[in-house]
Symmetry: C2
Subunit: 134 residues, 2 copies
Amino acid sequence: MSWPVNIGLAAERSGVSAKMVRHYESLGLLPRVQRTDSGYRQYTAADVHTLCFIKRSRDLGFSMAEITELVGLWQNRRRASSSVKRIAQKHVDELTQRIEAMQSMQRTLSGLLHCCQGDERPDCPILDDLAGRH
Amino acid sequence: MSWPVNIGLAAERSGVSAKMVRHYESLGLLPRVQRTDSGYRQYTAADVHTLCFIKRSRDLGFSMAEITELVGLWQNRRRASSSVKRIAQKHVDELTQRIEAMQSMQRTLSGLLHCCQGDERPDCPILDDLAGRH
DNA sequence: CTTGACCTTACCATCGTGGCAAGGATGAGA
DNA sequence: TCTCATCCTTGCCACGATGGTAAGGTCAAG
């Protein structure tokens, strides 16, 4: 496996782009980066593991601020699981709200789409709705 | 009703902030704005109606690019309703995709939340999952 | 004439990501 | 050893839609 690895391999193995790896570092999300004499970043297996953690968290929709907290809890052996659960519950609640908002849009639009002939004529219930249907 | 009105009243009546009214103008989304000698923008009833159209479109989740098209179609008497329907259908499809992606996150997180005790102990299936559940 | 509410433009911040540019490092083949 | 491709470095700009703030002009009521 040849550890440590350059940023390119760390990116490939974690699924995070090299660009984002540097960005996360600038946010203080990655603990510390060893460098070669010429300045190349060197990633250990543990570093790549942290990157994978961040990737998985992003894939689940957590914000960078939330991920910062989660990484901190992950690396803190004296954490309370309630702290993690609180963050996750808040995120799920936000997801629920956003989903409901989008479903509401979707319902309205689906109804309008159903009414619209979609032919060459200009009459269009979608535009009528957007114009305030008066 | 006293037309035309300043940007503040136009904003209040349309539900769009004055800031955004200026922004939409800079995007070319509002046709033309009359000005007083001192440079104040003057909005007619038709202008406010257009702002309401934009507001309603934003509330339904359309992007500014899509709204630019929709406003153009709205003001074009020779439009084909199929053009409108195509835009709306594409938007609904995108909404569907985003909703499904978020529901997938929600399902995963809900399962993890259900497993997490949320107490003072450090053991946490949520963190285990983020860390790659190995 | 002052005061306060309104208007003007212009710039910066958000959030997460991508792109580009200019330059250094490294390693493989000629 | 020279060269070239590929990698790495930093730094800046962009997105989309919105908010904030600052510095200044305008207007109407007191």
